[in-house]
């Protein structure tokens, strides 16, 4: 999705830079002020006894417009309000029908045909047809929309002409009848269906978009399990059940209320009071939750499709020497790092996380071996070590992790200076050549394919963009190009495994760990399933009888 500073990525949110003391101060202040504000809130939207899920979040949802949203918060709501042709299963990353009933791919993976169900309606009453999907993707491709999803659909035949204004519509998207849509691509792309599972490609009603224009985000009309009822910026967002949703018996909830402006620490207090049904677990209470059996039983965890690494700039000495890069891999104690974050991770053996199709469990990675690290450093001419600066997003947990690495590297003679930087300038800095020698970084998958890691993070084409370690290996790039058009999973993944082995042998990163996300729910909340890659879906969630909030 984006490089992330999240150490514990949540199903809800990317954790952004927020120095701890300020969070505490904000929480205390809010704790003093909020009870007063909330006495006698808005008139009830739901009748007594309605099944309403209570959530809380610090930041407002950036947008509800599927063409615009490209973050965890927006996607969580968009997937409740809209439907794509296909989507991921609740717990996995396998594609299942959403509004499409069936789909076929041509043998060369350059033509995809989808058949739609005929009973899905937008909440304004109109039937959803193939033209709505065509319109949605054209809207994303239209430069005027300034959609961040544009790049995913450029491979459709005629997309370039349409984007340049040379064509009225995208020639490669055909709608022979209201229930059939055909995509023709310029080149074979076996992972194209995954791009249609992104909310960018969700069906939107043309007439509503035409009526509200840029304001569509505030007046969204979709075909999903919920409808937008109220969105008071910075205060709360309320969704109600869509009675006409095409899946019978879903959703089970009558509505969802998310209170906005609630810091993570305050969320925890509200959770303990029974006022919210689901919460992230702030670091300040995580050890307490794990050690308290009553609370531990309410936690849910999932290995996300995320990787965390210590990037080394392959074009900045001494990291130009592969022996130095390997030495650092042997010198950093990954098990210790995972222990330091209370076990919320799995030590990494390479680039690809275990939940990703194509993961290579036979890859040995780099075990903790400081003696070997010293030997390698001596061979590279650094028998007495060297000094380096480790850049990191300024964050309490990052500083602890940084000190852990600092401890480890001191044992092999490498003296680290820790340089905490705010997240935005940090991202800017790692994209500059010859600027950042050593840094903490991470990546969350957009779609479950090795290309989304190997190509995005380590190919030559991504220098100055996402290839933050400035790694380049011609054979690695050749293998990526070779694998890209192959649809057969076994053959495709075999090539990617080979490529990953090259990357690991060249050690552009210290491969740190794959994070595990933890959530805690109330005992009366049922049916929640965490997904390794997407925000959890709420259409099968239900609530049993429970006491009112304290």
């Amino acid at each position: 999705m984006a490089p992330t500073c999240a150490i514990f990525p949540r199903w809800r949110r990317l954790r952004r830079f927020r120095p701890f003391p300020i969070r505490v101060a904000a929480a205390l202040l809010a704790a003093l002020i909020l009870p007063a504000c909330h006495a006698g809130s808005a008139p009830p939207i739901f009748p007594p006894g309605a099944q309403v899920l209570q959530l809380a979040s610090l930041d407002d949802v950036p947008t509800l417009d599927p063409a615009a949203g490209y973050d965890v918060d927006s996607w969580m709501f968009e997937q409740m309000l809209f439907d794509t042709l296909i989507r991921y299963s609740d717990a996995g990353v396998d594609l299942v029908p959403d509004l499409a009933t069936a789909w076929t791919a041509a043998p060369d993976s350059a033509v995809f045909t989808f058949h739609l169900r005929r009973d899905a309606r937008f909440t304004n009453g109109r039937l959803v047809t193939s033209a709505d999907f065509k319109f949605a993707i054209e809207r994303v491709l239209d430069p005027k929309t300034r959609s961040k999803g544009m790049e995913y659909y450029r491979g459709i035949a005629g997309a370039a002409d349409f984007a340049a204004g040379r064509a009225k519509s995208v020639a490669g998207i055909e709608t022979p009848d209201p229930w059939t849509i055909v995509f023709r691509l310029n080149a074979p792309d076996p992972i194209f269906p995954h791009k249609l599972a992104m909310p960018f490609a969700a069906a939107v009603p043309r007439e509503v978009v035409a009526r509200y224009g840029e304001d569509f985000s505030r007046h969204v009309v979709g075909s999903g399990p919920f409808m937008l009822r109220q969105w008071i910026g910075g205060q709360r967002i309320v969704l109600v059940r869509n009675p006409g949703y095409f899946v019978k018996g879903a959703p089970r909830l009558d509505g969802v209320i998310e209170a906005i402006g609630v810091s993570e620490d305050l969320q925890w207090f509200r959770f303990e009071a029974g006022a919210i049904d689901l919460s992230a677990i702030p670091p300040a209470v995580f050890p307490y939750v794990v050690k308290t059996p009553r609370l531990n039983a309410l936690t849910m965890r999932i290995v996300t499709m995320t990787t965390r690494y210590l990037g080394m700039n392959c074009r900045m000495p001494p990291f130009t020497d592969v022996r130095v890069r390997r030495a650092l891999n042997y010198a950093v104690n990954k098990r210790k790092l995972v222990a330091v974050i209370n076990g919320r991770g799995i030590p990494a053996n390479g680039v690809l996380p275990p939940s990703l199709p194509g993961y290579d469990p036979t890859l040995p990675g780099y075990p903790y071996d400081p003696a070997r690290a010293r030997t390698l450093l001596a061979q590279a001419g650094y028998a007495h070590g060297f000094a380096a600066t480790l850049w990191m997003p300024a964050d309490q947990t990052m500083m602890i992790l940084g000190q852990s690495v600092q401890q480890d590297l001191a044992l092999v003679g490498v003296n680290l200076r820790l340089k905490p930087v705010a997240f935005a300038p940090f991202l800017e800095a790692i994209r500059q050549p010859q600027t950042v020698p050593l840094f903490f970084s991470g990546w969350e998958a957009d779609f479950p394919d090795p290309a989304n890691f190997l190509e995005v993070l380590l190919s030559r084409a991504q220098w100055g963009a996402n290839n933050d370690s400035w790694f380049y290996d011609p054979r690695f790039d050749t293998l990526l190009a070779e694998a890209a058009p192959i649809a057969n999973p076994a053959r495709r993944y075999a090539i990617y495994r080979e490529a990953q082995r090259i990357a690991v042998a060249n050690a552009p990163w210290v491969f740190l760990y794959f994070p595990v996300t933890w959530e805690i729910r109330q005992p009366w909340m049922h049916g929640l399933v965490l997904n390794p890659m997407r925000p959890a879906r709420l259409d099968r969630v239900w609530l049993s009888a429970h006491p009112p909030a304290k």
Partner: protein
């Protein structure tokens, strides 16, 4: 120099002073002899308590933290930073504050107005906020921290010294010296400054506890001396994640800060009491 009214009292400390002096001495000993006193290396992991801090035990009397470091050793080494930053920042504070205060109080007139209005402007800015801004701009490090603390905390000293200098410079012996033709520099250094000295001593003692707290505050906001150097404020900051499961991680460095601040405060207040004044008259 004015003679002591009762020469026999010269070396008799009252209880507060004695207690304060003993505490500060203890702090100084911990700081100077840290390598000998600390049972372990304060930076390295000495126990495998990663992510799961261990409570106080025989082997580690104050427990170990989430990176397996010995809390006792870190507190002992932390005294170095606290004392060094506290005292050095105080010296800088005094250098700036006394110079401005003496100049304003003795010279009076336009110089006084100018210097004191500048002081007032500086006073309007909260010291911690100003310090945070300065540290963020400058490179983090011991030197930065003490420089910044010195730069933001001299205003109180300047005001008190000015008031004292103003009073002293109107006294007969100063007027007499001036009548004898003494140059302003000589008047300030030989006649005014020595008589302002007692108040400066008190300001130094009380102010050091202030700079210690400011240092701890900056460290708590992760703007202090960068890791791995142990500092009390950062120890507390790093232990916030464990305040429910391992409160000792925050309590012991907190007590260390309390101890240091109390030592300097007792020293200052005791000295004031012996001279028959209260801090509120400063």
């Amino acid at each position: 120099m004015r003679a002591n009214r009762n020469p026999t009292m010269k070396f008799r400390l009252n209880f507060m002073e004695a207690a304060g002096a003993a505490m500060v001495l203890g702090l100084a000993i911990a700081a100077v002899f840290a390598p000998a006193l600390a049972p372990h290396d304060p930076v390295r992991a000495v126990a495998a308590t990663f992510g799961d801090p261990a409570p106080p035990s025989l082997a580690f009397p104050l427990g170990t933290d989430q990176l397996g470091r010995d809390v006792l050793s870190r507190i002992i080494y932390g005294a170095r930073i606290s004392l060094a930053v506290g005292v050095a920042a105080m010296a800088l504070t005094l250098a700036i504050g006394v110079t401005i205060g003496l100049a304003a109080g003795f010279l009076g007139g336009a110089v006084d107005s100018l210097l004191m209005r500048f002081t007032d402007v500086m006073l309007t800015m909260p010291a911690l906020l100003l310090a945070m801004a300065l540290v963020t701009v400058l490179q983090p490090g011991v030197l930065t921290v003490l420089l910044v603390i010195g730069l933001v905390s001299w205003t109180q000293v300047a005001r008190v010294v000015r008031a004292e200098a103003l009073a002293v410079s109107r006294r007969d012996f100063v007027v007499a010296a001036r009548a004898l033709g003494a140059a302003p520099a000589r008047l300030i250094l030989r006649h005014v400054a020595p008589n302002v000295m007692p108040i400066i001593v008190v300001m130094a003692a009380l102010g050091t506890s202030g700079t210690l707290l400011l240092d701890a505050g900056l460290s708590f906001l992760t703007l202090g001396v960068p890791p791995p150097t142990p500092s009390w404020g950062r120890m507390i900051e790093e232990s916030t994640a464990y305040f429910r499961t391992a409160p000792w991680l925050a309590i012991f460095p907190g007590l260390a800060i309390l101890y240091a601040v109390m030592g300097f405060n007792l020293l200052g207040h005791g000295y004031l009491r012996r001279r028959g004044r209260r801090a509120s008259t400063l």
